[in-house]
Symmetry: D2
Subunit: 312 residues, 4 copies
């Protein structure tokens, strides 16, 4: 009888509690919070990058978005710009190529000048058993995620330092940068590297007027992430069952958090690592959380057994 | 000659960079963000608690502040209320006494109903070599910080669960909850306990509509903290020298962060632990950050020596 | 079809790999490693404490074990002593009572002198939904685990400092001290407090010749732990499915680790926090580890879908 | 008067306590612990790698050491072998080149068969302000440390999996992998990546009989590390002042720890991250540890001031 207690539930939550946690998707910061500011967002053409660009643009920033696919960037730039009335520039750039990064920053300098806000959001990832990873597959991910972030950050940092201009740097990593995770190992390693890069520079480059912070998102539905991490759609329900808040995140929610961190309201925030995941990480990591599906009746049985235990 | 390189500097930063990081002290969230919401703030009569109460009240919340000194609470309540036009209630409560906590919540229920926002901010602390700590001194701190936070959180949690009402819980701990720290050991232990309590409940009580988050502040000048942690004022300059952003934090800055976390803009945030410290923690913890005071000339010497090294 | 992929497996591992990881239960350190040393072990009468006492005694230490049940202690003391030929003393002590702790140390001083090795291993715990916790239930656990450890540590520390005697302190906490965990919340909070206490004193009391380290065990079968955490025995199989090494730990294994940390081979180890859990923690915490049960066929399907994805 | 309290001391410890913590440099494990085992150590020709090879060889292992400088490797191999009587093989390998890694493993397979013990110890590093880092300098470090470790680990892992052979993998990273650190940023990022790689594979590859653990060393005097991190020797004294144990570590001490982790005594250890640093990390990270140099007289003054404080 006992063995069947958890049959079918696998210690997951129902998700029905999500009604308590409705997403708010409008812009949070005061209008004009980014007036006269320039924001540079890698991977700004799609998914979370697009959402963050939209919010910064609404709040007054002039945005520059950069990634490999110029057509995607241009369409996004036009759509956002026509919605917000503020300029969004599209610049082609493969972040894993230091020369392309340098040329991209040249182009930005002539378009808008050096940025006040930098968001390193570009990344690549796919699920795969690690014994199937070739050295090239390893590098395909780490070159974008770790080297790409470093090249963008160092290139911009050097130029900003030379011009004695302050800036806010934000990196979008992932909750498993902390714990590691099987089946996404190059991404886990590279993202952990980015976390260390940003914590290191938060310490070293404060004296030049730079802040560095990190958001570690949990699952937020975007085509880019979900098509490569859950191609069959099988895992989505299971994922939700691990999230205490009972639902996936929305791009507009992370955009508000990113805007806050990048704004002058957060000038005292540096070296922070902010998990944004509906509670998924703490739920997974805590050894006894799967007891969520024990019923009140079963608790009574267990409590009685515990009480009757004598000695050790 | 080399031995005198760092004389006088002790590897600290000058703080002159703080001009890049001006504090913004106005309220950040949209007006009315907390309309029709009730917020309960322990230690709300002074320091950071007062600042958070002020911000929530400005944004529309009806606030209940609780601590031991009723006169202090009442004066704060009146001052804030007259400034914001929203009611602030003062309720006496020693959080380390479970019965007092229960009575305080009774009183709140009849005044305002159960809260939507809870901020566990009350604490005690003092600097002292650990070999000077009696069991009573140990308990004086841990009873307030750990047990007090637990009693408030459990009491409110149980009643909210029974009424099927969701809420946002926030705890104010400290950066040294993570690392530990000598000379403030009861506080370090109790605050680490609070961090674990909030991460645990973030996982367990999501299903009841509750979120739990943590802010770990670095040094923010308040009378309460500084008179007990730096009574002579000797350490303030040294502290600033360890902060990459070059200045102490301001109460209004943490109040904006706390308001964001407690608001509906952050309904997907739970189990987050947010360091808010101008970068102090990463600066202290990173082994080579004291090289900040090596001069360009000295770097040249060192670089030449490194280049000429052969083998291992 | 896809939805049934993981039916029955719930993303757990089989445990059949445990054959690769056979436990070795003999003593590891050189004979006589603890000759002329005195070791003090709280909770040394049962479970892990008994195993650690046995190993230290085998290696030459004179041991003092302390807990509430004198009869249990005495029987253990005799059994170990007759096995190893070294004295084991039983001293009654409820660690949550500072006076009892002081008297216990008095007794030890006259029996053996102050200890060279201290292991804080006594604890209490039970599983329970947090909304069922009364203030007394909260204190029943935290008083033993956090206050008890502090009282023992401070009492011994002060006396050792006064006698200018060095010592190694070790605390046995738990993997969920790091993450928190629902359903064992007082234990999670108190154990996190112990971690902070030991990290703090590692920093502060090095100058007095003291080292402080922590072992965070995963599930090791003892009557004391399992009767209160898994009274029905239902969860054991699930637990094993989360452990990469495929089996529970054995008391003798943690005893060897504890002996190493407490020995002169580890005089350079202080402030270390050593997870000892067969990999359970990293397995639980990593977001994609449940993909362990995807079959090779299914991986092929997924890979093909990922490859055919275009754009973001 | 107060401002001069800390003059000259800069909040550092004297190091005179090191007498309490004498290093023990003989081998710890029972003779023959690695009989019939093959160990593969990258960077085994010098420094810590050489020390770990020596210990494993003494304990019966047949060792293969690999790095770029074949002459250095060969000399070390002969010296160790003649001392221990067990074979040590020298194989040239630049770990950042996947083909070289594959050839090296081919060579090892024909010499000794696949290894039972793998220690990823090879690394590169130098101190430098981050604004001075070119993309090539960045890659010079990360290619060795992160990619090199990944290539070695994946190559060996795949072959071991195919042969259904279990193994213990150990990575040597650094305490600042956790916190990040300025002035060694490529190393900090790459080492953090290695930590994530090993935690990830601990979770994923347990089912194949593999364990993965990490040692994060603090400062242990080797020519390779110190000539590139402290070329002038100026910082050594300061470093010691930050180490609670009052001295640098010795290569033989980490060798004993590494041997334990790699041995069958530790088959239940996987996913562990072991700081081995004399307490340096917790000392640096803890906000109030610099109070170590407050004198008893000064404490009295401070205590009196704290006691006389009223209110907050
Ligand atoms: N969505 C989630 O659940 C989730 C969770 C955790 C973390 N994240 C992180 O959030 C960020 C955004 O992800 P997303 O979900 O929005 O997915 P996405 O839409 O696929 O975004 C990735 C972006 O990176 C760009 N990119 C990829 N390779 C690049 C390169 N070599 N150079 C320049 N740009 C490159 C892509 O544009 P091009 O193809 O045009 O180059 C794309 O715009 C990523 O860092 C991801 O790791 C997401
Ligand atoms: N300021 C900083 O630099 C800093 C840094 C890190 C963390 N923090 C944290 O921030 C929080 C606020 O500190 P603060 O700087 O604003 O100092 P504070 O003004 O001294 O605030 C502490 C508050 O706690 C209340 N309190 C103390 N014991 C209590 C008890 N037994 N029951 C109920 N209330 C009690 C006090 O009011 P009564 O005296 O009326 O009871 C007081 O209002 C604390 O949790 C502190 O640990 C502050
Ligand atoms: N076994 C596991 O899987 C596991 C996992 C993680 C952590 N741990 C930790 O490992 C340690 C040992 O646990 P165990 O599994 O060996 O269970 P155990 O046999 O129940 O050990 C607990 C010991 O603590 C003593 N104790 C309890 N309350 C005390 C008090 N007030 N004063 C003095 N001694 C007290 C008990 O003796 P009396 O009843 O005679 O007082 C008993 O000997 C604990 O710290 C536990 O949290 C165990
Ligand atoms: N000593 C410390 O205080 C300390 C502190 C923290 C961490 N660590 C870590 O401990 C490990 C050993 O350092 P150590 O102090 O012993 O310094 P070391 O003697 O310089 O050791 C580094 C070894 O790595 C090898 N190596 C470098 N590049 C390589 C490549 N591309 N391919 C293959 N092998 C390569 C070197 O040999 P070749 O030149 O022949 O290639 C050398 O034997 C490193 O991982 C280091 O990061 C040391």
């Amino acid at each position: 009888v006992l063995r069947s207690w958890f049959h079918g539930s696998a210690g997951l939550q129902s998700g029905s509690q999500s009604g308590f946690f409705p997403p708010v998707e409008g812009a949070m910061l005061p209008k004009g919070s980014f007036d006269n500011k320039v924001a540079f967002i890698t991977g700004g053409g799609t998914g979370l990058g697009r959402a963050m660009t939209t919010t910064l643009s609404q709040l007054g920033a002039q945005c520059v978005i950069a990634s490999r696919k110029l057509d995607v960037l241009q369409q996004t730039a036009e759509e956002i710009s026509s919605q917000t009335g503020n300029k969004v520039h599209a610049v082609q750039c493969d972040v894993k190529d230091p020369q392309a990064v340098s040329q991209c920053v040249d182009q930005m300098e002539s378009l808008t000048g050096l940025p006040d806000v930098i968001i390193n959001n570009a990344a690549g990832n796919f699920v795969c058993p690690s014994e199937g990873l070739s050295p090239n597959a390893w590098r395909a991910i780490t070159d974008i995620v770790l080297n790409g972030t470093a090249f963008v950050t160092l290139e911009l940092g050097k130029r900003l330092i030379q011009k004695q201009k302050g800036a806010s740097f934000l990196a979008i990593t992932t909750i498993y940068a902390e714990s590691g995770s099987g089946f996404v190992v190059p991404s886990a390693s590279a993202k952990a590297g980015v976390d260390a890069l940003y914590k290191s520079l938060a310490a070293e480059w404060g004296r030049y007027g730079h802040r560095f912070n990190i958001i570690q998102p949990g699952p937020i539905k975007t085509k880019g992430a979900f098509s490569r991490l859950d191609p069959t759609g099988v895992f989505e329900k299971e994922m939700i069952g691990r999230i205490p808040v009972g639902r996936l995140g929305r791009p507009a929610e992370i955009a508000n958090l990113a805007a806050y961190i990048s704004s002058d309201f957060a000038t005292w925030m540096s070296g922070a690592v902010i998990r944004f995941d509906g509670g998924e990480y703490v739920w997974m990591a805590g050894e006894f959380n799967h007891l969520c599906c024990v019923t009140p009746e079963q608790w009574k049985t267990m409590e009685a057994m515990i009480r009757s235990t004598k000695g050790s």
